[in-house]
């Protein structure tokens, strides 16, 4: 699957999704509606415990709905096998140690594509490009547990990238990354989106969110409370709703508002507005 054709695009539709965890009866999702079109870049934000991870785990069948439904390209995800979903939706875990299991970086990155039936040059190219994107080329023989925590996280991302799924879901990809690691994650989001694939990321880093995503979905207590462009979600009108979820807009948005320049969620947007105001 070099690049991505219409055939491999996926539309995700979440309708009235409810999830109650059996242990403790916690209602982690309380009726979520969300439609994500092919090729969108969507950031999911909200406090710890607001339901973000529970939501994305329904997209690839790791969790099944208590009520409501998830459809992938019009098919009910509940009627699809985990294997069918895995070919469409690649999901990385927040904690790479819950994902990584192989004895070498190479085996770890090849596991996903091998399971999807890739072999030969197709497998080799999937592996090479995933390792290059994450800066792990040259570490093929390394045991994943000899990598530092931030590079293990990048390995977890590489092993999902190598599956070349139409949808990539990243759970807190920038957590624990230094400046170079965050830059790599940014570049991965750009490159995947440029191929027309969908990227959904959970993040607490509002600068990363505003800079790399077209759309921001804010969750609170198992519900979507805001859903719009980063200019909308980080604009003044949405601040009370953001505040109710203990989130703050990025600094550029606050400064733009202070200077009466409208909603400027990124440094670049603020600088452009400052330029035209001069």
């Amino acid at each position: 699957m070099p690049g991505c054709t219409v055939r491999c695009m996926a539309e995700l539709v979440v309708e009235g999704l409810v999830h109650v965890f059996p242990e403790g009866g916690v209602r982690a999702l309380d009726g979520v509606d969300l439609r994500v079109g092919a090729g969108e870049r969507v950031a999911l934000v909200g406090q710890n415990g607001s339901g973000k991870t529970t939501l994305v785990r329904h997209l690839n069948g790791l969790l099944r709905p208590t009520d409501g439904r998830v459809t992938v390209d019009g098919s009910d995800a509940a009627r699809m096998t985990v294997a069918q979903l895995a070919a469409r939706i690649g999901l990385t875990f927040q904690d790479p140690d819950r994902q990584i299991f192989a004895g070498s970086v190479r085996a770890e990155v090849e596991f996903g594509p091998r399971n999807l039936g890739r072999s030969g040059t197709e497998l080799a190219s999937a592996r090479a490009s995933a390792l290059e994107a994450t800066g792990l080329d040259g570490e093929e023989k390394t045991n994943p547990y000899d990598l530092g925590g931030s590079r293990r996280k990048l390995l977890a991302i590489a092993s999902v990238l190598a599956m070349r799924t139409p949808v990539l879901v990243l759970d807190e990809p920038t957590t624990g990354q230094d400046a170079r690691g965050v830059e790599r994650v940014r570049a991965i989001v750009e490159a995947v989106a440029a191929e027309g694939r969908t990227v959904i990321a959970i993040s607490h880093d509002m600068r990363f969110v505003a800079g790399s995503f077209d759309r921001v979905v804010v969750m609170r207590a198992g519900l979507v409370v805001l859903d719009g462009s980063s200019a909308e979600v980080f604009g003044r009108a949405a601040w009370p709703a953001l505040d109710s979820t203990y989130l703050e807009p990025p600094l550029a948005a606050v400064i733009g508002d202070r200077l009466g320049l409208g909603s400027t969620p990124t440094d670049a947007a603020l600088i452009e507005a400052l330029g035209s105001a001069q």
């Binding site: 710890n48 530092g148 957590t175 624990g176 990354q177 230094d178 400046a179 400064i255 200077l259 603020l270």
Partner: protein, 270 residues
């Protein structure tokens, strides 16, 4: 009380190269020192050496001197050192005992382990909970708290040992913005009560907020050291893989675009 590293180097057991080279710092009472650096630059190693866990518990080879008020701690056993220097890890779940049924029991775990009298344990536990503003959580199950709350419980457990020095290794890495603010407030409060705190962080915005001084590591060596404003505003920070605080990078990008005027400056510092 001053905790000092003088020309300290450290090599992990079985490692070919040292992870820390010729590091010298002083931690005085009531000061918050920020520790920045790219991944694998030596931040965690420095935290382990400062707390005494390296080499006492994890082995390896140390060079140079670690001193408390001028006395070399070389021969001190861990239980004695841990009452003077507390260390907190990135992930609060590694720190919590996992056996305590309540937050109160969890925080009392340290003082009970060093065999303090019962009344003293109770008094210290309450004092630590109050100092961090989590006395309302005393009866809760620590495993059923938010990440931010768990991190505060872990820090309270350190405080109950009444250490003179606290070493925190990326305490907000797993936390959401609200949890990060809670930990930042706690650090400021503790420093105002006289503890010295070294906090390793990727979030330079947090360091700009709480630290008086900042040290930057690269390849196990100290490459920058000075007041927080000076170090965090230094353009060389990016060269060693550290993202500057949001205000610094915004001001710099605006200046480069020729729009960094007085109005922007006023809004940034207003």
């Amino acid at each position: 009380m001053t905790l000092t590293l003088a020309g300290v180097g450290y090599r992990y057991a079985g490692a070919r190269r040292p992870s820390l080279l010729d590091v010298s710092i002083d931690l005085h009472d009531g000061i918050v020192v920020g520790l920045a650096g790219a991944s694998e630059s030596g931040k965690t190693t420095m935290c382990l050496v400062l707390s005494g866990l390296a080499p006492r518990t994890i082995g390896g080879q140390i060079k140079g001197h670690v001193t408390l008020n001028g006395a070399d701690v070389d021969g001190w056993p861990m239980h004695q050192l841990s009452q003077r220097i507390g260390i907190g890890f990135q992930n609060p779940t590694t720190q919590l005992s996992q056996v305590a049924e309540s937050v109160f029991e969890e925080v009392a775990f340290g003082p009970m382990n060093v065999a303090l009298p019962r009344d003293e344990v109770v008094a210290r536990t309450w004092a630590a909970l109050v100092a961090l503003g989590i006395d309302g959580l005393a009866e809760r199950d620590p495993r059923r708290l938010s990440g931010g709350q768990q991190q505060l419980v872990a820090i309270a457990g350190l405080l109950a040992l009444r250490p003179d020095h606290l070493v925190l290794d990326e305490p907000t890495a797993q936390l959401d913005p609200a949890g990060t603010r809670m930990v930042g407030d706690a650090i400021r409060r503790l420093a105002s009560e006289g503890a010295s705190i070294l906090v390793a962080e990727q979030k330079t915005d947090l360091l700009a907020d709480v630290a008086a001084e900042v040290i930057v590591l690269d390849g196990g060596r100290v490459v920058m050291q000075g007041s927080a404003a000076e170090v965090l505003g230094d353009p060389r920070l990016a060269d060693v893989g550290v993202a500057p605080p949001a205000a610094v990078s915004l001001a710099r990008a605006a200046a480069e675009a020729g729009v960094g005027d007085a109005r922007l400056h006023g809004a940034l510092h207003g």
